[in-house]
Symmetry: C3
């Protein structure tokens, strides 16, 4: 099994290098958003690191698509490369937007639900970063996709609680508008990690 | 014409079986959401049936994608199978979310517009469930797609009325926030039925 | 170079004709939304022209997809034709929705930020309309895609300013709800012009 990665020519292996970079970038974005929410408002400067992370994600996505458009024979199906690159890009985009809203909406203190959701995203990011290198020789990643699915379900549960408490009588409408937006981005980030896991699993089923 | 479905090998026919299941599931979800809105708040238990429906939809979608990833020669183009499965899945997801909001947002009474929109979704679901079996031997479905398009236009008209009355002076902002969200999900469900119909029609044009 | 467009058979050239139509339609929609916002509320009748534009966009998209489903050999990759048609369609849809909200939400006067965003969309529409004819003989469009990307970044900057001023203390929640929706559609329109530019560039990279 160990030698299987040599099956691919050097130019083909570059796709896997780029996907690994994207995985590391997601793990980093997840850790930043977790810290940003848990320490807010004492984490204003983390927002800058998140923007850097998002630009880095854009760069990686661009490199993958550019390489895809220039490559005739790809190590995995073209549409899977495209779908995986897009899903990985979405994760970081949504994370960055959620963090950005804290400053833009002048949030004074994060809710407990938001802190929990950010921690869930960080865990999912770590699972994805761990799964991606296994793509290189099509090793089983079931352990990681189960974990990401579990986290997404956990995120759904927290989100429902968060919305329910937001809509209890007596809440300020402006608070509801702000937090609904932030929760939505955090949910989109979690959904995007699940989508990424599903695409990874689909690629493995096709290729083994 | 009647014997045409034998054109496909048994393993290929399973795709059509799964799409038919998805069609029945959408019809059922449509009927549930119609009842849920028309009888609310005396239909709390319908929400549970809708969640079951949504899980069933997830299971069917998963089965289709899994089968697709394992099948080399498919009876219709791979990307059409994927697009159709996704669109059918979206319909039920949006329906379930719209229903879920009734409880989550502590809605006391549904608006007339919401009841009308839910009834339109139920009709569109029935039309889609009737169209899908015709895919099996590529029989004309124009009658059904015209119907789904008509319903989507009707839904747009009702939605615009609903939004206009929501934004009239003197409305409570919290009501606007709640109902905008619910209307949006109902609209997304209707849009997804139209997208489904367009994909079905595209498949027929390609294959006849 | 001038004779290169003859490389394609007449039936294949029809795809380029339709994309050029879509480009002109986007340019027109952009000019209408710019006028609608800058002159509001003295531009109620422009809304009707925008609806016509949106219907025209639907017609062009339908024609492209129909032709795609009936054509076996296409001058550019099928998935690129589909992606480009969808992205072009999205631009006009979002523009039309943004304009529609002015009346539906009973907006009395547009914000300076909204006027700026509409002007940015108009510029991006002009750049896309100028780039599309170059697809016909795969001429370089880098100048135009750089311009669209610049406009999208500029739009992001204006949007962030707009949201920040919307969430300053003391704003009426109903105003925030209305304008957040309108800004969101204007942002989606700008994002869709960038997506269009990226798809155009991808097609050129593949084909040159």
């Amino acid at each position: 099994m160990a030698g299987l990665s040599n099956f691919f020519a050097p130019r083909e292996r570059e796709f896997f290098d780029l996907f690994e970079e994207a995985g590391h970038n997601i793990e980093r974005a997840g850790k930043l958003i977790e810290r940003m929410f848990s320490d807010w408002p004492d984490s204003v400067e983390v927002a800058r690191d998140l923007v850097v992370c998002e630009h880095e994600g854009d760069r990686i996505t661009h490199d993958i698509i550019y390489k895809l458009n220039q490559t005739f024979v790809t190590p995995i199906d073209r549409e899977d490369i495209y779908a995986l690159a897009s899903a990985l890009d979405d994760v970081v985009d949504y994370i960055e937007e959620a963090g950005d809203f804290l400053g833009l909406y002048r949030i004074e203190a994060p809710t407990q639900h938001a802190i929990q959701l950010a921690a869930i995203i960080a865990e999912a990011g770590t699972a994805i970063a761990a799964a991606i290198p296994r793509l290189r020789d099509f090793r089983d990643i079931h352990h990681y996709t189960v974990e990401v699915n579990r986290l997404e379900n956990e995120g759904d549960r927290v989100l429902r609680e968060a919305l329910a408490s937001l809509f209890q009588a007596g809440i300020d409408p402006m608070m509801v508008i702000r937090w609904k937006d932030i929760y939505e981005r955090l949910e989109q980030a979690t959904d995007a990690t699940e989508k990424t896991a599903n695409i990874l699993e689909g690629i493995l089923i096709k290729n083994t």
